[in-house]
Symmetry: C2
Subunit: 430 residues, 2 copies
């Protein structure tokens, strides 16, 4: 088929990660290789900014900056949690969609790449369908990004490998710390990690366990109903055995009635998700009040998804690969797909195994708003510990460290200059 000539627009959405910039770098560097792609634009703060025509010319940026963005956490183009919601706000959504295509038309955007999680893939899917409906030639490819690792069909989501590397390291370190304190009646530490409904982040910390006695000793996933009695019995057992107990808890763990034990009902985000805080503190109270065991908490919060100083090189390389694959697919005329990661296990002549990472495409409609949870058979019978299947899955994702530039003992992270292109439309109505 004839190649589609026009400009490229790439944007980021949802919670940032250590790897989302690497995917954008993959898009930009691959786009440079295709003549059919004329201008390379970046949309600031995802759809939220694009609707305001906040678009930058990426060719105005230093090549060095673009290359080093690979190793910089967070979202260099800025991100958002803005949703085009035809269900709840049909009129606003229709208005937004009109505005979006006016902008695409005004700037001759023919290639659109959106990096994000479930909600962002849903947005990409809607834009793809709308383009067809309008007969506007636009190639839309979604790029997976979420530390939650809950997108279906892809081996994993870029960003996940880095958060597991950092969190597992933190578990090791907190474990040695707590384990070396002499206490007559033992001690406990609860490490709260992200993961609202999928427990991939908590489950991944199992790789910190090199020996059976190593922490983490208990991992609580949102997928498994939290039962206080069973939990307390397990903590008691671990403390009596090792004198200390390290618990990793996903922020979204729920009780039998389906309520998150750390829920803060006051707060709800733009997608109607309940915002959580304090699963660890709740658990600490439970342990302290029932067992009298000294219990402390660690809440990594945003630090875990932004920890570029100890990100996974494998994760970053795959994120770049995914961005490049998105451009190749679009140039080939594909639209309405998300790039997914494929894991190929290669066994050499000596029987030694290595992993080769590849990509493929999955229709966006298969991804949008779907959610992949940790399989039950990847966990111990009591549900308190992921098994060998989880270890085999997670370990390859954390391999390799970044060649991070350091100045005066602290990391150097790069930022875009962000020179806005001339706006061609009247300002958006409020």
């Amino acid at each position: 088929m004839a190649e589609l000539n026009g400009n490229l627009l790439v944007a980021q959405s949802g919670g940032p990660t250590c790897a989302i910039n690497a995917s954008i770098v993959g898009v930009i560097q691959e786009a440079g290789r295709h003549d059919c792609i004329e201008e390379i634009y970046g949309g600031l703060n995802g759809v939220y900014g694009i609707l305001r025509e906040d678009i930058i010319d990426i060719n105005d940026e230093k090549a060095k900056t673009i290359d080093m963005l690979k190793y910089s956490p967070a979202a260099a183009l800025g991100t958002c949690r803005y949703k085009i919601d035809f269900k709840k706000k049909p009129e606003k959504a229709a208005k937004d969609m009109d505005r979006l295509f006016q902008i695409f038309e005004a700037h001759n955007i023919r290639y659109f790449f959106y990096a994000g999680g479930n909600d962002s893939q849903d947005t990409s899917h809607k834009i793809h369908l709308e383009a067809i409906k309008r007969g506007f030639e636009l190639h839309v490819i979604g790029i997976p990004k979420t530390i939650d690792n809950d997108l279906p069909h892809t081996d994993y989501c870029p960003g996940y490998g880095s958060v597991v590397k950092y969190n597992a390291t933190t578990v090791m370190e907190v474990g040695i710390d707590v384990g070396c304190m002499a206490t007559d009646d033992g001690s406990c530490c609860i490490i709260e990690v992200m993961g609202r409904s999928a427990g991939w982040i908590a489950a991944g910390t199992v790789i910190a366990k090199r020996k059976p006695e190593d922490p983490p000793h208990i991992i609580l996933l949102p997928e498994i109903v939290f039962e206080e009695e069973k939990f307390l019995a397990k903590v008691k057992e671990v403390v009596s055995q090792y004198k200390y107990c390290i618990v990793v808890a996903g922020e979204g763990i729920k009780n039998a009635s389906g309520n998150e034990i750390g829920a803060d009902d006051k707060l709800v985000d733009a997608f109607g998700h309940k915002l959580l805080s304090g699963a660890a503190d709740k658990l600490a109270q439970i342990v302290q009040n029932n067992l009298g065991t000294k219990t402390r908490t660690v809440k990594l919060g945003y630090a875990q998804r932004a920890a570029g100083h100890f990100a996974s090189l494998t994760d970053i390389k795959n994120a770049v690969m995914v961005g490049g694959a998105a451009v190749k697919a679009a140039v080939e005329g594909k639209s309405g797909f998300m790039v997914k990661i494929i894991r190929n296990v290669i066994t050499d002549d000596n029987g030694k195994q290595r992993i080769e990472w590849g990509t493929d495409l999955q229709p966006l409609e298969d991804i949008a708003n779907a959610e992949r949870l940790v399989p039950r058979d990847w966990l111990s019978e009591d549900g308190f510990m992921p098994n060998e299947k989880m270890v085999e899955y997670a370990r390859p994702l954390v391999e390799g460290e970044l060649p991070l530039p350091i100045k005066d003992g602290l990391p150097c992270y790069y930022r875009l200059e962000k020179s806005l292109i001339e706006k061609k439309l009247p300002p958006m109505e409020a």
Copy 2:
């Protein structure tokens, strides 16, 4: 004077750090150079374990393990918060002191090195005085260790450089993360760090600020009375200017009536210190309820003092130096001193400055239970930001990264085998 022949006992006390093992390595490696030191023993879990005659023979450990301990966080010999308290428990204290000297005598301990903070230096001082009183020839030297950095007379306390390096990096990373999210009404993140009454850890994160607009935007120290109105006004000002605000809060910040705003009255440690939790959560409530600004929290807890994966090489080298200096002093016949770190600023012919670190001795009585706070003139007038004096002080402490061994993408930390020597006394009475 004639050298004192006998055995060496080294132990660790108080909260672990990334550098306390390095000081023990310094002691062990220097001790090997002196014939007057016969056996090199390690006391497990500080005075708590020594009273139980839990003593290991360090010469039974692999030399490789001992050397690599430099780069392993936490306390390889184990630590404790056990206090010989003549004020509150005079009888128990006298009993403990008797037992301690029975053990010193039984194992011919003539060199005693104790690494710890204020309380541990106090313990060392008491042991030193008791030895004189009893006419028992014992050389006691204290080794400074505390991330709190609140010991007087020493330039800084080993462990502090590493916690500042990790925390400042975390502030940078969380800052980029929060700053890249598009929000109409701004957002705020409160990062809670350790520091009960001294704000050195919080203040040190100022080095993350390479440009005026960089985070942290507000630093709250326990030394400065927390005033809600002023704090809210400052957050509002920062959010309106930068759309986001990163606050670093020392866990022990206090209000006008001297109460810690994050205090949890239920919990008190062995020294009667009130245990804290939740300064960040309290602040988040205050911001959210009064300004309606989306506010999240990060509570690094034990993770910050155990983060060996990004510790400061300068800090580790100085910790080794301090341990070696302690042995040299003891062999020279000194007792009742703590080794302190001296900072010498050397200006070369080109006017370029570099720092040479050295050591000296300070009588333990000058250290025990004394506390050094952040000087008021190291802070801005409004008290919300350390100034250039703090930056100049803290920056050199974080320089250099460790040659940390990594396996399967995660750090390798070393542990002692801990083969106990034969006990010579009856078990301690309860």
